[in-house]
C-alpha cells in the first residue's frame, strides 16, 4: 500500500505535470522554464549534411556541431562532435545531442557526448531512420557551460539535397529539450484470469513489455528473453519478479489468446489487454508509441510500437527502461540491483 506521504507526493507530481503541460502550451514557456535552459539559435541556412554548423554563445565563442560522415547516414553509426571555438572560457560541462522529429513525436533519442577536453566533446550516435519519406529533424545540442544550461536546435532534413528546414519554433525547441514523459504509473487491465493491476505487484519487480500476439519478430524476441530471464532466476527470485505483457492490439488480442501466447514463453508471464482508450492511456504513461499499419489483402496488419520495455520497482515507480533487444543476463543483473532482490542473499554459481 502507498503511505499517505507517498500518495501526497504522487498527487503533487501529477498536478505538477498537468501544470507543466498547460504551461508548455504557451509559446513563451521555454523562457520561463529553468529546465529547458536558454535557447540559442544557430547560424541560418547551414546544412549539417554538407558542413559543420555553428551558433554563437553569450560569451562570444562559437559552438560548432559536426556530424560525420556527410551526408548524414541513417541507421549507420555517425560521429557527433561539439567544439567551442574562440578565446578561452569556461570549460564544457555535460554535453548531449538530442534528435527529435520536428513537430513529430519520435520518442526519445539522446546521446551523451564524452568530453575530450574543455572545448571538445564527441560520441558515436545513430539516426533513427524514417522509412516513410522525407522528414525534418532537430539535432538539439544541450550543454552546461559555467553553471548555465543551453539548448541549441540545429534543424536538418532527412534529404541532404532539400533546403534546410525553417528554424524551430519555441514549441519544437521545448519538446526537444524536455525529457520524455516517462512517469509510468498504475493501471488495471484484463488477463484471462481476471483483472490485473500494477499495484497488485508492490514489493515485486515488474518487467512491463508492450506488444501484440500477431507481432512477427520483435515481441517473440522480447518474450523469449523474458522467458529465459525467469528460467535463469532462482525460485526465490522468481517469486519477486513478474513479467506483464501489455497488448497494443486490443482489437485482435483477447485475454485468452494472450494467455496462450505468453504461456508459450513462460507460464508465469501474464498477458493483459483492455479497451483501446485504456491501452492508449497506459501506453502514453510509459511513453510507448503504437501505430496500426495498413492491412494487407488478407486483413492482416502490423502494429509498430516502441520496443523498449520497463522495469517497475517494488515501490511501483519506474526503475529502468530496457532497450531492444533485451539481453536476459543484463536484465537479470539490473533486477538484482533492485529491491527486494537486492537485499536477498544469493548463492553465487
Amino acid at each position: 500500500m502507498l503511505s499517505p506521504s507517498r500518495r501526497l507526493l504522487l498527487d503533487a507530481a501529477l498536478i505538477l505535470s498537468l501544470v507543466l503541460i498547460v504551461v508548455a502550451g504557451y509559446r513563451y514557456a521555454n523562457s520561463q522554464r529553468t529546465e529547458a535552459g536558454n535557447t540559442l539559435i544557430p547560424e541560418a541556412n547551414c546544412n549539417l549534411h554538407r558542413s559543420a554548423c555553428a551558433a554563437v554563445l553569450p560569451d562570444g565563442r562559437k559552438l560548432i556541431l559536426s556530424i560525420t560522415p556527410r551526408p548524414i547516414p541513417v541507421v549507420q553509426p555517425m560521429q557527433l562532435e561539439v567544439r567551442l571555438d574562440g578565446k578561452a572560457g569556461a570549460p564544457l560541462g555535460k554535453v548531449e545531442v538530442d534528435f527529435a522529429g520536428k513537430s513529430m513525436n519520435m520518442g526519445f533519442n539522446r546521446v551523451t557526448l564524452t568530453t575530450v577536453d574543455g572545448s571538445h566533446a564527441k560520441a558515436e550516435g545513430n539516426l533513427p531512420v524514417c522509412v516513410t519519406g522525407r522528414m525534418d529533424w532537430l539535432a538539439t545540442v544541450l550543454l552546461e557551460l559555467d553553471g548555465k544550461r543551453f539548448n541549441i536546435p540545429f534543424p536538418f532534413s532527412s534529404d541532404p539535397e532539400a533546403p534546410v528546414p525553417a528554424q524551430a519554433t519555441a514549441d519544437d525547441t521545448l519538446a526537444a529539450a524536455q525529457p520524455p514523459t516517462l512517469q509510468g504509473g498504475d493501471f488495471t487491465l484484463l488477463s484471462a484470469a481476471g483483472p490485473v493491476s500494477l499495484q497488485d505487484y508492490r514489493g515485486r519487480v515488474v518487467w512491463l513489455i508492450f506488444g501484440y500476439t500477431y507481432c512477427p519478430d520483435i515481441c517473440p524476441t522480447s518474450l523469449a528473453a523474458a522467458g529465459q530471464l525467469l528460467a535463469a532466476l532462482s525460485p526465490e527470485e522468481q517469486q519477486k519478479v513478474q513479467v506483464i505483457f501489455v497488448s497494443v492490439d486490443p482489437e485482435r488480442d483477447t485475454p485468452q489468446r494472450l494467455q496462450e501466447y505468453t504461456r508459450f514463453f513462460h507460464p508465469a508471464i501474464i498477458g493483459v489487454t483492455g479497451g483501446p482508450e485504456q491501452i492508449a492511456a497506459v501506453a502514453k504513461h510509459y511513453g510507448v508509441i503504437h501505430t496500426r499499419q495498413p492491412a494487407d489483402a488478407h486483413g492482416n496488419y502490423a502494429v509498430d510500437h516502441t520496443a523498449s520495455s520497463f522495469l517497475i520497482g517494488a515501490d511501483g515507480l519506474l526503475a529502468a527502461k530496457v532497450g531492444h533487444p533485451p539481453m536476459p543476463a543484463e536484465v537479470a543483473a539490473k533486477i538484482r540491483t533492485l529491491p527486494p532482490l537486492s537485499s536477498q542473499e544469493r548463492k553465487l554459481p
Partner: protein
Amino acid sequence: MTQFLRAARTISASLALMTSACAFAGAADKLSVADPYVRLNPPGTRVTAAYMVLKNAGDKDIKVTKAANPASKLTELHNHFNEGGVMKMRQVPAIEVKAKGETALQPSGLHVMMIDLKEALKEGQIVPITLTLDDGSEKKVDAVVKNPTAAAPAKNEHAGHDMNKH
C-alpha cells in the same frame, strides 16, 4: 506475323536456356549459409521468421532477392528499422552480402519472414528455404525449427544442411 512470333519464341527460349546456364555457375556457389533456423511460432500464431548467417566467398557483392519455403503461403525479406525506439518492420527488396563479407539475419534485424503458415511448426522440423540471388541462381537451405524459449543455443555445426540447387 506468326513467323515473327515463332522467331520471338525461339529467341526467348534460347535466352532462357542461356540464363539458366549462367545460373548454373552463379553466385550461389560463392554463398554459404551458417546456422539457419526458423523460430518456433507460439500457439495461435501464423507468422514466424527464419534466421541465418550468409557468407559471400566471392569477389562480387551478392543480393538475395527472393525467398521461398513450403511451410508458409508467403515468404518475404524483411528488415527492422529503429525509429526513435519504435521498431518498424518493413519489407526490403533485397538482402545484400558484400564481397568477402557476411550478413547476419537475426531477431530484430534482417530476416526471412514466413507469413500465413499452412500448419503449426514443430520443434526440430526442417523447413527447406530457397533463396534466389540477383543473378538468378538459387541457394537451398535447410533450416531447423527452434524453440526460442530454450536457453541461448550453443552453436551447432550440424543444425542445418547447406546445399546448392541449380
